[in-house]
């Protein structure tokens, strides 16, 4: 490849505090327009903002989870601009003394770990919501003042896929911290992307585009992929690149330059005189550090070490904290040291059942003891794997035992030679071609014949026994 892609991401995250950043208005989503507002978040003269302790603690927690250095001295600044969703005509944000700097997040690129720098995590507040009608814009200030964190990455990402992986990993980690919903659809997590291209090996960064308006991780990836193509073409044809903001149009699958007034942005940052400085002392930092849960990466490592999982399996099971806790409980209850069987069931049939119901793994209403019993029936070859999956489906949301379900469904595996011989004879007669194929040495033909017997026995035949019987019969 001639060009290197350089991407940096800016994530805005709503914290899940009960109240807004600087006032006691509720942060509840979906309330009637302008019902969660007060003189402070409406920016009435004479009102005084006071920061939310819980928001500060959550922010420190998140910054620590990403290995950031918490700054001893931090303050709020006013970022000045006019827009109708901003009642004060400034956003309270942080400029030169952010809460934290120099963190990182590890992703995997072609199975190799890659460290992505996090420049800073800083505190700010959300703006209101605009609804554009034919001749006017309507403003709802319910969201105004909800505590936000801005998480800025270094331009260390070199492909749309890396950006996607970074976001996924970021979201997984944040999910463990319980500081935000991380719901992109509800807008509690938003992402802007800076992207530029440069010749491989070049030191100078190319002219960048800032991408906005992506409302899913896939949208971010798609927008970046489009932009790599667009910028490559511009560079190849020698056209002049301009630094600009572009909006992702999900319907058309293109980015479009945003109309902006001329002149660079001039936010005239200055310290907010309404808010005091913050001195974050070590005791607070170490107290919050102690409260940090085991994070996904650590959990993966432990699952691999303690339970012998593959890293791939461990990653799937530790995607969210609750799934990881559910999986670990199953793994612990499962007898013996070798946990392969239960892990395969968790990642296979159980995950399918959860996906089918459009819920998370941990939300499956299943008695773990009965699940383990079910696996026992399979291992003792008392029921087939196929039947076991049927029983699993019934076991979920049920009060019945595995034993009762097998009996009721008449699913006991047929290993009895006499009962099987009859079915096998029929199958052999009906599949002369496969029989001659098998005799000609095609082993696949045996699989096919076993499959036919399984079908005729409604999945109850013991495939191992069937295979042996057919082999004996045809040799």
């Amino acid at each position: 490849m001639k060009y290197q892609t350089v991407i940096g991401l800016e994530v805005h995250l709503q914290l899940n505090t009960k109240t807004k950043a600087f006032c006691g208005c509720s942060t509840d989503f979906g309330k009637a327009p302008n019902s969660n507002v007060c003189p402070v978040c409406l920016g009435f003269p004479g009102s005084l903002p006071v920061y939310n302790r819980e928001a500060l603690n959550s922010a420190i927690k998140l910054a620590l989870a990403f290995g950031c250095q918490i700054q001893e001295h931090t303050k709020f600044d006013r970022k000045n601009y006019f827009y109708p969703d901003l009642p004060k005509n400034y956003q309270i944000s942080q400029y030169d003394l952010p809460l934290s700097r120099n963190g990182y997040l590890d992703i995997h690129v072609q199975d190799q770990p890659k460290r992505i720098g996090i420049t800073r995590v800083h505190l700010e507040e959300d703006a209101g919501k605009l609804i554009h009608e034919a001749n006017e814009s309507l403003v709802d200030f319910n969201r105004t003042g909800i505590p936000l964190l801005e998480i800025v990455s270094e331009p260390d990402l070199n492909s749309p896929q890396e950006a996607f992986d970074y976001l996924t990993s970021l979201k997984n980690i944040i999910g463990y911290l319980d500081v935000s919903d991380c719901d992109m659809e509800k807008g509690s997590l938003r992402c802007d992307a800076n992207i530029s291209l440069r010749l491989q090996g070049a030191k100078e960064l190319g002219v960048k585009a800032e991408l906005k308006n992506m409302n899913s991780f896939k949208g971010v990836k798609d927008a970046l992929t489009f932009e790599v193509e667009r910028q490559t073409q511009l560079l190849e044809t020698g056209e002049q690149m301009v630094q600009e903001t572009r909006l992702w149009d999900v319907e058309k699958g293109v980015t479009v330059a945003m109309r902006t007034k001329e002149g660079a942005k001039d936010y005239r940052y200055f310290p907010d005189p309404d808010l005091t400085v913050f001195i974050i002392d070590q005791s607070l930092i170490s107290r919050i550090k102690k409260e940090l849960p085991e994070l996904p990466q650590e959990k993966v490592a432990r699952f691999v070490k303690e339970y012998g999982l593959s890293e791939y399996d461990a990653k799937i099971l530790t995607c969210t904290k609750k799934n990881a806790e559910f999986a670990e409980k199953c793994i612990q209850v499962y007898p013996g040291k070798d946990k392969k069987e239960i892990v395969n069931w968790l990642i296979g049939p159980l995950l399918s059942e959860a996906n089918l119901r459009k819920i998370e793994l941990y939300e499956l209403k299943i008695n773990i003891k009965e699940l383990i019993n079910l696996l026992g029936f399979v291992q003792r070859q008392e029921i087939s794997y196929l039947s076991a999956k049927i029983v699993l489906n019934q076991l979920i949301d049920s009060q019945k035992s595995t034993h009762d379900l097998i009996r009721e469904g008449n699913l006991q595996q047929i290993s009895n030679t006499d009962a099987l011989t009859q079915i096998i004879e029929t199958v052999i007669q009906e599949n002369a071609k496969s029989v001659s194929d098998f005799k000609a040495g095609k082993t696949n033909a045996l699989m096919y014949l076993v499959g036919q017997v399984m079908k005729k026995s409604s999945g109850k035949a013991n495939p191992k026994v069937v295979g042996e019987l057919i082999k004996g019969r045809l040799s």
Partner: protein
Amino acid sequence: MSIDKETINHVAHLARIELQPNELEKLSGELHAILGFIDKLSNLNVEQVKPASHILPISNVLREDQPHISLFPQKALENAPSKKGNFFSVPKIIE
């Protein structure tokens, strides 16, 4: 420190105020005087003074995460120049 007309126009734009030519003339003189006055600060010796971003020697003023009672929408919208239902209404703006 001097201030040219271009800067004044820029600042006026940022503040969303429209200046007439005579006002521009007048303001450029006034702002020049104001900045000159403030500029006196740069003559002070502040070597012994710690940088401060707040006028009072206090820090870490925080509130607990307890909900208060918000305004009723009617009350919040009471002084709005224009409204529609529960919304504030503004001239259509899409940037």
